[in-house]
């Protein structure tokens, strides 16, 4: 169906015509030729000669593109980094191009998540079929839902196709239609206190269904329902029944469940994960190749991850890089440490690289050994040790949880009972410093896996929690990507002991509202207690958010800890100038309010994290401008969200001891300083950016 906004040119009536492609290539000749070729295919093309500009466009106009076509060798940013960013933040199919046809480069493309790799010079024939990647991705997204038991595959695909059709219209047009729908939806849900307004996201790659914003309340309900049914046995239909929320569809629940499972899985991953992939939504990452660790990061732990075949991992890290063994073996690191390390890992790619390097090297050879943890332990234990960001997106496979547990700490990481299957993408893409961006990307994708550790932390007393939170925060920060999850993390702990630190970091990433609530709520599931959502007040203060974790003693395996991640990520962000604080807006608070039991929206922390990351990025990268923009947009978003959420929620601020948006840096988080490493900063910034986007991650929406 054509967008009512109308396309400038005659909108082709059939998909794939009208496919909206973003073309990125620094060579003007190639750019011109490819542009022409794509137009000949009746695609709608937007060109960019700089990766940074491309990211900016993508971020600003999320949902306006179906596919990205990018060159590998570009002056301002490595194409693989861009690839990662996109994967983490936007989850769009990306096709790489290069005249370099060496196997290792092509492999790199694959491991970083490219849908395809085209050798230049490009021929028309190669471009004619690129639409298949869009469809495939959507289908895979649908399939994931199906696996979780509910999915109307057709709807999705139809929706996807529809989007494709719509693609012919200018973005503005589609935005308009989306907005209209949004209004309609809002009207319907005005009275629904339980649900946030259903926003319709204009996400061409998803169906046009209104996007459900998983508020804290909603997620709490979800988690309760899931717990009631049993994490493994929960099926969307039953969950939906138990939740009895008006306007929620089985599909919404299905996709959320999928994400949740991923989240759980991630959480159960060893602390190494550093990459807090708390990002619940790694869902669509099904294809995410855990192996795509950031180069340089050799996450031996990953080997453990079901998804990453050892050799695969090795492949990912071509020789020199493998130094990052971040994370996965975090198990050895005590929980807190892990978290911290996780964060660190995430954050300090640099850091990790050096230390990880050795570790990784070792690891690589022995992927399965818990020695991986060793590395983490180095990092983890002390916040300062923060692991290099490295981009460890540890995706915990089911097996992963062991990592955490095996850690020296009695980490109570109770890995979720295998819910995380699959999604645990350990995207440990640990990049060496130079790949910070990538790292962050992958991290994001992989969802901050810290959850696991955080869970444990929660079990500990409050003090732990605070540590945890800080750790998480760190993680969060490091895992920019994981921030997704973090944002969502709601640490549900019975939080009595939770110090007021729970920071309800507002979800600065307004976009991610969804995430914020939903994600963190995963954590809730377990105990049903209110989770202190350590909303990691974004940016700077990560510390607070985690506090809530401590209360989650129940977290056995439940990832309330996820929230923790948020905190961590936030923390991480702190290292950089995160001024996200402003971002963290109260929006999160709003969410928090909704929580019945002091659920801290960890997302907020994430949010802030993102923001901060963004800020950090600014500082460090030349992409600062972009980041700033992002932050601004985020801020705006958050504000909007805030308003919305506040309106919706009563201002129930979680009891003081639970949630408190604490933007300040908590003492625990001192290790954040660790991240000040340049690389880290860069990474962080990248991550932050990503995290931010992660929130907005559309994939969350069914």
């Amino acid at each position: 169906m054509l967008d009512s906004g109308g396309a400038a040119a005659a909108a082709p009536a059939e998909f794939p015509a009208g496919l909206r492609v973003l073309l990125v290539d620094d060579d003007p000749t190639c750019l011109m030729i490819l542009d022409r070729m794509l137009r000949k295919c009746l695609y709608h093309v937007t060109t960019c000669s700089r990766a940074a500009a491309a990211l900016k466009i993508l971020r600003e106009k999320k949902g306006c593109f179906d596919l990205v076509l990018s060159d590998v060798y570009m002056p301002d940013m490595d194409g693989f980094k861009l690839l990662e960013h996109i994967g983490l933040e936007m989850d769009l199919p990306v096709i790489m191009m290069s005249s370099d046809d060496h196997k290792d480069v092509v492999m790199k493309g694959v491991t970083h998540g490219a849908c395809d790799y085209i050798i230049k010079p490009v021929r028309m024939e190669s471009l004619k079929n690129i639409w298949q990647h869009v469809v495939r991705k959507k289908r895979n997204g649908s399939k994931e839902l199906e696996n979780s038991g509910s999915l109307e595959d057709n709807d999705r695909q139809r929706g996807g196709v529809d989007e494709g059709d719509n693609a012919s219209s200018a973005c503005a047009g589609s935005w308009k239609s989306v907005k209209r729908k949004k209004e309609e939806v809002k009207d319907d849900d005005e009275d629904d206190d339980d649900e946030e307004a259903l926003e319709e996201h204009e996400d061409p790659s998803h169906s046009k269904k209104p996007r459900v914003v998983w508020s804290v309340d909603l997620h709490q309900k979800f988690v309760n329902a899931v717990n009631q049914l049993g994490v493994d046995k929960a099926v969307p239909k039953k969950i939906l029944e138990l939740m009895s929320v008006v306007g929620l569809t089985r599909e919404n629940v299905a996709s959320h469940l999928q994400k949740y499972r991923l989240y759980l899985r991630r959480v159960s991953m060893p602390q190494h994960q550093g990459r807090l992939d708390s990002h619940f939504a790694s869902g669509h990452d099904a294809s995410y190749d855990p192996v795509s660790l950031i180069d340089g990061f050799d996450v031996p732990g990953l080997a453990v991850v079901s998804q990453i075949p050892p050799q695969g991992r090795a492949a990912i890290h071509p020789g020199p890089r493998s130094n990052m063994n971040v994370g996965i073996s975090a198990s050895s690191v005590n929980q807190f440490g892990l978290i911290a390390s996780g964060i660190q890992i995430a954050n300090a790619s640099n850091m990790v690289s050096s230390s990880a390097q050795q570790m990784n090297n070792k690891r690589m050879s022995n992927p399965q050994t818990p020695s991986n943890n060793i590395q983490l332990s180095q990092f983890g234990q002390t916040p300062s040790a923060v692991q290099p960001y490295g981009s460890m997106n540890l995706q915990f496979g089911k097996g992963m949880p062991n990592f955490l547990t095996s850690s020296s700490q009695p980490s109570s990481f109770s890995l979720p009972s295998g819910t995380m299957s699959g999604q645990m993408n350990v995207s440990l893409t640990m990049h060496q410093a130079q790949h910070l961006h990538q790292f962050s990307l992958s991290q994001q994708r992989s969802n901050i896996n810290i959850p696991h550790s955080s869970g444990q932390v929660l079990n500990n007393n409050a003090s732990h929690s605070s540590r945890l939170s800080s750790a998480l925060t760190l993680q969060t920060s490091s895992n920019e990507s994981s921030n997704h999850i973090l944002g969502q993390l709601r640490v549900s702990t019975s939080i009595t002991s939770l110090p007021a630190n729970y920071i309800k970091s507002p979800f600065s990433t307004s976009r991610r509202d969804l995430y914020v609530d939903g994600q963190s709520s995963f954590v809730n599931g377990l105990s049903g207690s209110s989770y202190p959502s350590a909303s990691g007040v974004g940016v700077s203060q990560q510390t607070a958010s985690f506090q809530s974790f401590s209360s989650n003693h129940d977290l056995k395996g439940k990832f309330d800890n996820v929230t923790a991640f948020n905190t961590i990520s936030e923390h991480q962000n702190r290292g950089h100038e995160w001024k996200l604080q402003r971002v963290n807006l109260p929006y999160q608070t709003g969410h928090i309010f909704g929580l019945e039991q002091s659920n801290l929206l960890s997302h907020s922390s994430l949010m802030s994290h993102h923001n901060s990351a963004a800020t950090a990025t600014n500082r460090d990268n030349n992409t600062g401008a972009t980041v700033k923009d992002k932050i601004t947009s985020l801020t705006n978003d958050i504000n909007v969200e805030k308003r919305t959420s506040v309106a919706q929620h009563r201002n129930v601020y979680i009891d003081d001891n639970s949630v408190r948006l604490n933007y300040g840096v908590s003492p625990d988080m001192s290790y954040q300083d660790v991240y000040l490493d340049d690389m880290q900063n860069e990474l962080m910034s990248v991550v932050a950016k990503q995290v931010t986007f992660e929130y907005i991650y559309d994939d969350y929406l069914a």
Partner: protein
């Protein structure tokens, strides 16, 4: 008729480019892109290429002069040039770029300098030929489009 004689001339000229290896089939791809919407596409792209490649070659010259031992840098620069050349089908030039790259891999500075001279030579040569071609094409006028696919 003059028209068809020009036509033939064009066709012959173009054929020689291919036969002599100056252009390869990627050039056909470019021609395919020309249509009513972009009637001068081929010429535009080629012009753009020659202009941009001058810039790239300048960078390489500069690098050879200032950082002659920095083979990574040289490799990266020549990669760009090669990619650009291959995108319009400049076969000979592309091949010379490959030779240059090999010398970079072997860290053979002398070889790099020599092969780069060849790259520049091929560049100039192709440029001249294509300029002639387009000049003729313009003379033939819109009808010339029909000759594109011929050959």
């Amino acid at each position: 008729m003059e028209y068809s004689s020009l036509h033939r001339q064009l066709a012959t000229m173009k054929k020689s480019f291919f036969d002599q290896g100056f252009l390869d089939e990627q050039f056909f791809q470019i021609e395919e892109l020309q249509d009513d919407v972009s009637p001068n596409f081929v010429e535009e792209v080629v012009t753009l290429f020659f202009k941009d490649s001058l810039r790239l070659m300048g960078n390489i010259d500069h690098a050879l002069e200032k950082f002659p031992q920095d083979f990574d840098r040289l490799d990266s620069l020549i990669h760009q040039l090669k990619g650009s050349a291959s995108s319009i089908g400049a076969a000979k030039m592309k091949n010379e770029c490959t030779v240059f790259r090999d010398f970079c891999d072997k860290e053979n500075q002398e070889g790099c300098i020599r092969s780069f001279q060849k790259v520049k030579k091929e560049h100039a040569c192709l440029r001249q030929k294509l300029e002639n071609y387009f000049q003729l094409l313009r003379q033939v006028g819109p009808v010339a489009k029909a000759t594109r696919s011929g050959n």
